[in-house]
Amino acid sequence: MKSAIVVFPGSNCDRDIAVALRHCVKSKPSMVWHKESVLPSVDIVVLSGGFSYGDYLRAGALAAKSPIMEEVVRKAKDGVAVLGICNGFQILTETGLLPGALMRNDNLAFICRNVRLVVEQARRPFASAYRKGEIISMPIAHKRGQYHADPETLARLEGEGQILFRYAEDDNSSGSGMNGFTMNGSVKNIAGILNEKGNVLGLMPHPERCFDEEIGGEQGADGAKLFISLTQSL
């Protein structure tokens, strides 16, 4: 499986994703600087997390205008898998590859902790290694992770099965989160969505920060299965 990671000025999770890909799928990704306008021929393009352009104006707004993004949109339309993690998800909504928008967290603060997610479908290419309905743990670390979409878009996302990850209920009920901390307030607890064709995934939690059992922190290793799913279909 050949992979590429797009690096924007201000991305800060690009190295972490490269480490995760090398560890889980033995694929050494090529790191593509945002000023490039051509991507190598790959099975998957990853838009890294971080604070591209410092999240100035809106998270992902300026990065969406980088030369490389026209190429990413072309590849996505050709069916190449595209994975946007955290800031990558924000960039995908700003380019229109994914519907909706990521807004300031409901409690206005940056939230960094491990949250529980529900895997809505064990669907290729991103989640075939999970079981449908499986509860997994993944760290989140963001200040603008509140997913918003208008009612029609939400109905389509639900109807077409484009919601891949949701925050587990007790984690996201407003005001009474896991232990009294409000979650980001995403509508319908949405944490990660697919485009219609299912080859583009954007999610706010960080799988590349929880793939390594050895480190044995609280974050666990449930992120590994997302990367392993990629090898099962790419």
Binding site: E94, D106, H148
Partner: protein, 84 residues
């Protein structure tokens, strides 16, 4: 300076949740400001041109807003001459 200045007012669309506006409203209530129906926070961007003709400058600012200054999914924008 005879600079031409435009003000771009970017506001959240109806129905889009505004946690910042809500937080301000709650704080105002706690500080005793009553009769407040609603608070909405948006962005104000001042763009100044040097020796550009007003018409093409205004057109450029509108193009910028359509291009990326405002996010059509959640925001509306209005362009006006900035009365600095």
């Amino acid at each position: 300076t005879d600079r031409l200045q435009f003000a771009v007012k970017i506001t959240l669309k109806e129905g889009v949740r505004d946690p910042q506006g809500r937080a301000i409203q709650e704080l105002l209530a706690r500080m005793g400001y009553d009769k407040i129906a609603d608070v909405r926070q948006g962005k104000h961007i001042k763009i100044s041109f040097h020796d550009a003709d007003p018409e093409s400058a205004r057109e450029a600012v509108n193009a910028m807003c359509r291009d990326f200054l405002a996010n059509p999914v959640i925001e509306d924008y209005r362009v006006s001459i900035d009365d600095a």
